[in-house]
């Protein structure tokens, strides 16, 4: 096993000043925590935005006290205008997809734990790493600034379809400066993620310590590695697309705007652009993006379940190959977002087949996870509850994919709440559950304290039941034809569905309140939580549990660990119990190791 860690990493001296320790830190662990804090603020913001949205949908003409403080003209007397609803919706989606689901499972946990899990002191490019966080943070500020600049945020949805995204404020409030700020923010976000992906890939390939072969990497490390490969290629396409949109606004170009468009009785000064070009660029990024959001969760949940089942998964390699297959296939399916977009209908058929095929690796992963529970010695705690909940949610969200993968059915379900239900279950719930599971599991290692287990279970129960109450009805609404992105339901056929929306809104507010339990737990435990009994409270095997708690500046206290075992040696008889840690030289009687 070739140990490159001694050469590759830039040794940097421990920080001494406050700024270097906590602000502009080169330490991957601090950067990971900074990302987590950013994701937390973003998640709370996105959640509050969703509350406003849901209240407006359920009680359309109600005045929400204080709402007018968020916008100069968007909420006269607290009553939400149609454009403000769309602006809140756009910000909700953008914040959640980018600043929560890409940031927390990948950038936050990955930055903290990937170097440790491979046995390294830090990542190879600590300065790029620091830059990646601060660029992402700046991107968030740029996005949020659209609330106070110009005539508010863009209202075009997180998907920002052309030409609405490029014709300017003549098409609506927020479509001028609001779009430019959105595109600038997301462009910056892409830069941050590219820098991050660079570090993740090189860490995984070059910094593994002696004995850490690729197959001995924990599933989380594999998940982060695969995700960063997707990130490198996907974000590299979105960033130029954002630049092209900005050029259409400020440089008089017409990349995305066709000729002879008439808005407000005025012929627009653009010609020759392509509406569909934006969709191709966006979804080429967009589909891998949703796998970027879920693959770390698949890895994290598998990792946590193994520890709590006290046995490895039925096949380590199968999970790795399946995650890889998801990543590769994710580039071939993006046209399923465009079945009725006006693209060549033969292309729609062509995209539908890989979309149907991608159910196979997803199914394999779920089957391996579920059937590994057979014969387990399952420990129930907050982390394992959220991990099991993840599986339930991932299945629920995944089966609705069967419908959306078929163009003929998509005729009925495209742009309805069925789609919104599908992606919320897999991303808004399953991926979030992965983040929660990771938090409860890794909190002791990151902070040196345990989270409160009772509050964790309360959080779990309310979230699990609440999430089903919110998002399962979305599917029924979609099947009835409830169109999405409507700020009010004025059509005749939508009237009978309004009571369903009221039920959903109540469920959403209750489930949202439950997240405050988590927030309280997080903050309270950080300062006053129980101390863990030792450095390895879960009796886990991977390298992060070999470090002191929390890990020192260079993770292993000046020593490079040596890896002697596969990552999940449970169900053995060793001097410490039914497991042996990867870094432990102890030879034990093991089950047949799968080659």
């Amino acid at each position: 096993m070739h140990d490159m860690s001694a050469h590759a990493v830039q040794h940097h001296a421990p920080p001494t000043s406050f700024i270097r320790k906590y602000v502009f830190s080169l330490d991957h662990k601090v950067i990971g925590k900074q990302y987590y804090a950013l994701a937390l603020v973003a998640a709370l913001t996105g959640m509050v935005l969703s509350w406003f949205m849901r209240i407006h949908l359920a009680w359309n003409s109600a005045a929400i006290p204080g709402l007018q403080l968020l916008s100069k003209t968007g909420a006269p007397g607290g009553v939400m205008t149609p454009e403000f609803y769309l602006q809140l919706m756009t910000m909700h989606g953008t914040i959640m997809v980018f600043f929560v689901l890409t940031t927390a499972p990948f950038a936050a946990f990955g930055n903290f734990f990937l170097p440790i899990q491979v046995g390294a002191e830090d990542m190879p490019f600590p300065r790029f790493n620091m830059m990646s966080f601060w660029v992402t943070f700046t991107a968030f500020l740029v996005l949020m600034s659209s609330f106070i600049l110009g005539d508010g945020p863009t209202l075009g949805g997180w998907t920002q379809y052309a030409p609405l995204n490029a014709v300017g404020s003549v098409a609506g409030p927020g479509q001028g400066l609001g779009v430019v700020l959105w595109a600038a923010s997301i462009g910056l976000f892409c830069v941050g993620q590219l820098l991050g992906s660079l570090n993740f890939i090189t860490t995984t390939l070059d910094l593994r310590v002696k004995g850490m072969s690729l197959m001995r990497l924990p599933l989380t490390a594999w998940a982060w590695f695969i995700t960063s490969c997707m990130g490198l290629t996907a974000f590299a396409v979105l960033m130029p697309a954002c630049i092209l949109v900005i050029l259409d606004h400020v440089a008089g170009t017409s990349f995305f705007v066709a000729s002879n468009l008439v808005i407000n009785d005025q012929v627009q000064p653009h010609s020759g652009g392509s509406t569909l070009l934006w969709q191709h660029l966006f979804w080429f990024f967009g589909h891998p993006e949703v796998y970027i959001a879920i693959v770390p969760g698949l890895g994290i949940v598998s990792h946590i379940l193994i520890t709590n089942m006290r046995k490895p998964m039925l096949s380590h390699r199968t999970l790795i190959y399946s995650m890889g297959a998801l990543a590769v296939l994710s580039y071939m399916v993006y046209g399923h977002h465009m079945f009725v977009s006006g693209m060549n209908p033969y292309s729609s058929l062509a995209f539908s087949f890989p979309t149907l095929v991608i159910t196979i690796p997803s199914t394999i992963i779920v089957l391996v996870q579920v059937f590994s529970l057979y014969g387990a010695k399952l420990r129930i705690n907050s982390a394992s509850l959220f991990s099991l909940g993840f599986i339930s949610m991932f299945v629920a969200g995944g089966v609705s994919g069967f419908f959306l993968a078929q163009p003929s059915i998509d005729i009925m379900l495209h742009a309805t709440y069925f789609v919104v239900g599908h992606f919320h279950m897999v991303m808004g719930v399953a991926a979030m559950f992965g983040i929660f599971a990771g938090t409860y599991f890794w909190f002791p290692k990151m902070t040196g304290r345990m989270m409160n287990e009772t509050l964790g279970r309360v959080h779990f129960w309310l979230s699990f039941v609440g999430a089903y109450c919110i998002f399962m009805p979305f599917h029924y609404l979609g099947m009835a034809g409830n169109v999405r992105r409507y700020s009010s339901f004025v059509d005749d056929f939508l009237q009978p569905l309004i009571p369903v929306h009221r039920f959903i809104t109540v469920a959403a507010l209750v489930t949202g309140a439950a997240q405050l339990v988590f927030l309280y737990n997080l903050i309270h435990s950080r300062f006053w939580g129980e101390l863990p009994p030792n450095d390895n409270p879960w009796e886990a095997t991977s390298l992060e549990w070999s470090t002191p708690t929390p890990p020192p500046f260079d993770n292993f206290g000046g020593k490079h660990p040596v890896v002697y075992h596969d990552p999940y040696q449970y169900g053995v008889q060793s001097s410490v119990g039914d497991y042996v840690m990867q870094a432990s030289p102890e030879q034990v009687k093991t089950e047949d190791e799968e080659k």
């Binding site: 003409s61 006269p76 149609p82 403000f84 005539d151 609506g172 009785d265």
Partner: protein, 233 residues
């Protein structure tokens, strides 16, 4: 002392005389030829408005009255007035009712505040399209307070509702307090004009502008008429 008193008395006489002498310009606006057919508006996409009209209303691009009267013509003093006049303090309103703008043409003084009222059960989106003034675009859900606005530059501004594309009207922002909008019989009246030489302009949204010069010497009423050429298209 005597020069000062004489000067004062002379000034008072002048001012007094101008106050005593205030003429009126009035007249009729008419058209010749055949105006374009005003199409009925189908409001079926907004049932709450459609049902307010027993028979569909028509477009208001050309509104006519008896004896070839031409309505919605803004007649105003474009030159010759001693000053811009006071900004009127009374509130004027622009009401959205039955998915129409009432009045179709709202004349106002620069910097005069006006209230936009939504009297319908649907949200309206008021989007005036100025070229000189600042453009804004605001939605007004039903039951929300009036939107208060004003413009600081003279301009004829087209007004649209983006949600209901057939809605169409105008703001006539004028730099004078002498203006009127012709109604029904096509009459207009511009009172309280001190003696002087004036240019009166008549503006119609489709048929353009016409001007006439008139001189006021005392208290008389001068008759000024405008005739626009209507076209079938």
């Amino acid at each position: 002392m005597r020069t000062k008193q004489m000067l004062l008395a002379f000034l008072m006489l002048l001012v007094g005389s101008s106050l005593m002498f205030a003429g009126t310009v009035s007249g009729k606006v008419t058209y010749t030829g055949t105006p374009a057919h005003q199409k009925p508006i189908d409001m079926s996409k907004e049932p709450s408005c459609a049902k307010q009209h027993a028979t569909p209303v028509t477009t208001e691009t050309v509104v006519t009255g008896a004896n070839n009267a031409l309505d919605n013509v803004v007649v105003y003093v474009s030159a010759g007035a001693p000053d811009e006049g006071q900004v009127p303090t009374q509130a004027i309103t622009y009401t959205q009712k039955g998915c129409q703008y009432i009045p179709h043409v709202l004349a106002m003084h620069v910097n005069q505040e006006f209230d936009i009222i939504n009297d319908d059960q649907t949200s309206h989106n008021i989007h005036p399209l100025p070229k000189v003034n600042i453009e804004w675009n605001k939605s007004q859900p039903p039951g929300t307070p009036p939107i208060k606005e004003k413009y600081d530059k003279p301009e004829f501004i087209e007004v649209k509702c983006n949600i209901h594309p057939w809605m169409h009207g105008y703001f006539a922002v004028l730099k004078t307090s002498h203006y009127d909008v012709s109604k029904e019989a096509g009459d207009f009246k511009l009172p309280n004009l001190p003696p002087g030489k004036y240019t009166i302009t008549a503006w119609h949204e489709k048929y353009g502008t016409q001007t006439a010069d008139v001189t006021i010497t005392g208290n008389e009423t001068k008759d000024v008429n405008f005739t626009f050429k209507a076209t079938p298209y």
